[in-house]
C-alpha cells in the first residue's frame, strides 16, 4: 500500500499539479483558488550585490517598506483566506529588525514559515530566536563552494565563510536546511563541489537553479550565460547526484530556458497558484512582474482585500488562463501545459508580454535568442554589473566585494 501523496508543488514549476485536488475539496475560493504559498519580500535592502538578483532593477527604498503592523495584518489575512506557507524573502529579510516578531506572528496564525536568506547578517543568537519563534525551514543561498568565486559573485568580502557558519548553526538548532545555488557560466565548474558541500553541511535539499534572465540578470546576461556544453554537463552531474544521494539530499534542478525546447510553466501559470508581496506591499503575480510596463499592481495599502486583488484585479486577470493568447500559443496543444511560458521574459525579449515566451521553439524569436545566448557564452565577457540602489555598479579589475 503506497499512500497517495498528491503534491501541490507550491512555487516550483512542478507539472504534477496536486493543486486541483486541494482546490476541488470544498475550497471557498472560486475560479482561481487562493495560493498555498506566498512569497513575502520584506525588503529590497541587501548587503550582497549578486549580478543575477531576482529583485526588480527599480528597487523599493527602505522608507517605502510595510511596517511591522502592516506585515502582521497581511500575515493574518493570508492565513485567514487559506494560504498555508509563507516564504520570508527579500532583498535580505534579516535586514528587517522585526523579523523575529514577524515569524512569531506567522506561527501564531498557523502559517508554515520559510526563511530565504543570504545568511551573512545572521548570528547564532538571531537564528536561535527565529527557531524559538517557530521558523520551520531555512534556505541559504550560496554563490560557489569556496570564497574566491563566491565572494566575487556576491560582491561581499567573507560572505562565503559567514554562510558556511550560518548553515552549521541551522543544523545545530535542528532546523531543516536547503542550500540554494544559483548557477551560471562562471560557477558551473564548481557544481560537483557544491553538491558535496550541501551534503557536508547536512542539508536536506539542494536547489540547483540556473539563472533566469530578467531584471539584473538580463543586464548581466553576457557575463552569466552558460555554454551549451556546460548545460549538458550540468544535467549529467545533477542526474548522477540525484540517483547517488537518494534519501540523503533531495536535489531540485531548474534548467536555463534559453536552451530549452519548451518554455517553463512560469509560476505555474500567471495568477494561477502564486503571488508575492513586494516590500512596499504590492501584490504581484511573480517577483519580476513589475518589469512589465503598463500593468497596475494594487497594494495591500489599497482599500481592497488581498483575496479581492488576487481574484479581481486587472493585472492578475490580464494573462490568466488561455483567453489572452495569440498564435502560436492560442491553438497550441501545450497551451495549458506551460501557459505560454513566462510573461516577463516575453516582455523583456519581444516588448509584448502577450507574445509567446521566446524560450519556446514555436516562438518566431526562438532561434535568434538561442543564437544570441550561444554567442554571449562564447564571447566570455566576464565583467559583472553589481546590483545596488544606484542602478548598478560595474565590476572593476581586481577589486570586487565592496
Amino acid at each position: 500500500m503506497t499512500p497517495t501523496l498528491t503534491d501541490a508543488g507550491v512555487a516550483a514549476s512542478d507539472p504534477s499539479d496536486g493543486l486541483a485536488v486541494l482546490e476541488n475539496r470544498g475550497s471557498t475560493a472560486e475560479a482561481f483558488g487562493i495560493p498555498l504559498a506566498v512569497l513575502a519580500e520584506l525588503t529590497h535592502r541587501c548587503p550582497l550585490q549578486c549580478p543575477y538578483c531576482s529583485n526588480p532593477v527599480e528597487l523599493d527604498r527602505g522608507g517605502s517598506e510595510l511596517s511591522t503592523e502592516e506585515w502582521n495584518k497581511v500575515l493574518s489575512e493570508l492565513a485567514e483566506i487559506g494560504v498555508l506557507q509563507i516564504h520570508f524573502s527579500g532583498g535580505e529579510p534579516t535586514a528587517r529588525r522585526d523579523l523575529v516578531e514577524l515569524v512569531k506572528h506567522a506561527s501564531d496564525v498557523g502559517l508554515y514559515s520559510n526563511l530565504i536568506t543570504s545568511a551573512v547578517l545572521l548570528t547564532r543568537e538571531k537564528l536561535s530566536a527565529l527557531a524559538e519563534a517557530g521558523l520551520c525551514h531555512v534556505q541559504i543561498s550560496f554563490q560557489g563552494n569556496e570564497p574566491v568565486v563566491a565572494d566575487r559573485v556576491a560582491g561581499f568580502r567573507h560572505a562565503h565563510a559567514r554562510k558556511i557558519e550560518a548553515a552549521k548553526w541551522t543544523r545545530e538548532l535542528d532546523l531543516p536546511l536547503t542550500v540554494n545555488a544559483v548557477m551560471h557560466r562562471q560557477n558551473l565548474f564548481q557544481l560537483s563541489d557544491i553538491i558535496q558541500m550541501a551534503v557536508d553541511l547536512d542539508a536536506d535539499r539542494l536547489e540547483v537553479a540556473n539563472v533566469q534572465y530578467y531584471g539584473w540578470a538580463l543586464k548581466n546576461r553576457a557575463a552569466l550565460m552558460p555554454t551549451v556544453a556546460q548545460i549538458e554537463e550540468t544535467s549529467r552531474i545533477v542526474e548522477e547526484a540525484q540517483a547517488r544521494l537518494k534519501g540523503v539530499l533531495a536535489i531540485d534542478y531548474v534548467v536555463p530556458d534559453y536552451y530549452a525546447l519548451r518554455p517553463k510553466k512560469c509560476m505555474g501559470g500567471w495568477g494561477r497558484q502564486f503571488f508575492n508581496i513586494s516590500p512596499a506591499g504590492k501584490i504581484l503575480p511573480c517577483h519580476a512582474a513589475e518589469s512589465i510596463t503598463g500593468l497596475e499592481f494594487l497594494s495591500v495599502r489599497s482599500n481592497h482585500s488581498i483575496a479581492w486583488i488576487w481574484r479581481n484585479s486587472e493585472a492578475f486577470n490580464r494573462y490568466r488562463g488561455t483567453g489572452w493568447m495569440k498564435e502560436p500559443c492560442k491553438s497550441c496543444e501545450f497551451r495549458e501545459v506551460d501557459f505560454g511560458g513566462c510573461r516577463c521574459q516575453a516582455f523583456a525579449l519581444t516588448g509584448d508580454a502577450g507574445n509567446t515566451d521566446p524560450a519556446c521553439t514555436l516562438s518566431p524569436m526562438h532561434e535568434r535568442i538561442f543564437k544570441l545566448a550561444e554567442q554571449e557564452a562564447a564571447a566570455a565577457d566576464n565583467r559583472f554589473l553589481y546590483r545596488n540602489f544606484a542602478g548598478g555598479t560595474l565590476e572593476t579589475g581586481g577589486d570586487h566585494g565592496a
Partner: protein, 104 residues
C-alpha cells in the same frame, strides 16, 4: 552531527515521527489534511492521515498496528504489511524520521 537519521528502515519496533520540517495540519479552507514541507504541500489520503496521526515518536509501529487492527477488526498480519510499506514509503520521501534517543 545531529541525532536525526535519514534512510530509516521501518519495522514494528520503529517509533516514527514527522520531522520538524514536515507539519501535518488540517486545512480549514479546503477541508483537507495536508503535510506542509519546504516548498511543498502534500495532500495525504485518508488512510495515510490516520496512520500519520499515530506517528508521535512514542508509539511503536507494532502498537500502531495493534490499534488499527482492533479499530477495523482486521487481520493483524495484513495491516502490519500495509502500514510498514506505507511508512517506509513516507520515510523514503523524507516525511518521517525516527524518534530521537533521549540519552544525548
Amino acid at each position: 552531527m545531529t541525532g536525526r537519521s535519514r534512510n530509516i528502515n521501518v519495522s514494528e519496533a520503529s517509533r516514527p515521527v514527522l520531522p520538524r520540517h514536515a507539519r501535518l495540519k488540517f486545512d480549514e479552507t479546503r477541508q483537507v489534511w495536508v503535510i506542509l514541507a519546504p516548498e511543498r504541500v502534500l495532500a495525504p489520503d485518508e488512510i495515510a492521515v490516520e496512520v500519520l496521526k499515530l506517528c508521535d515518536g512514542v508509539r511503536s509501529v507494532g502498537q500502531m498496528v495493534d490499534e488499527l487492527a482492533a479499530k477495523y477488526l482486521a487481520e493483524r498480519g495484513a495491516i502490519a504489511t500495509d502500514v510498514i510499506a506505507m511508512l517506509q514509503d513516507l520515510a523514503d520521501k523524507g516525511f518521517l524520521t525516527e524518534a530521537r534517543e533521549k540519552t544525548s
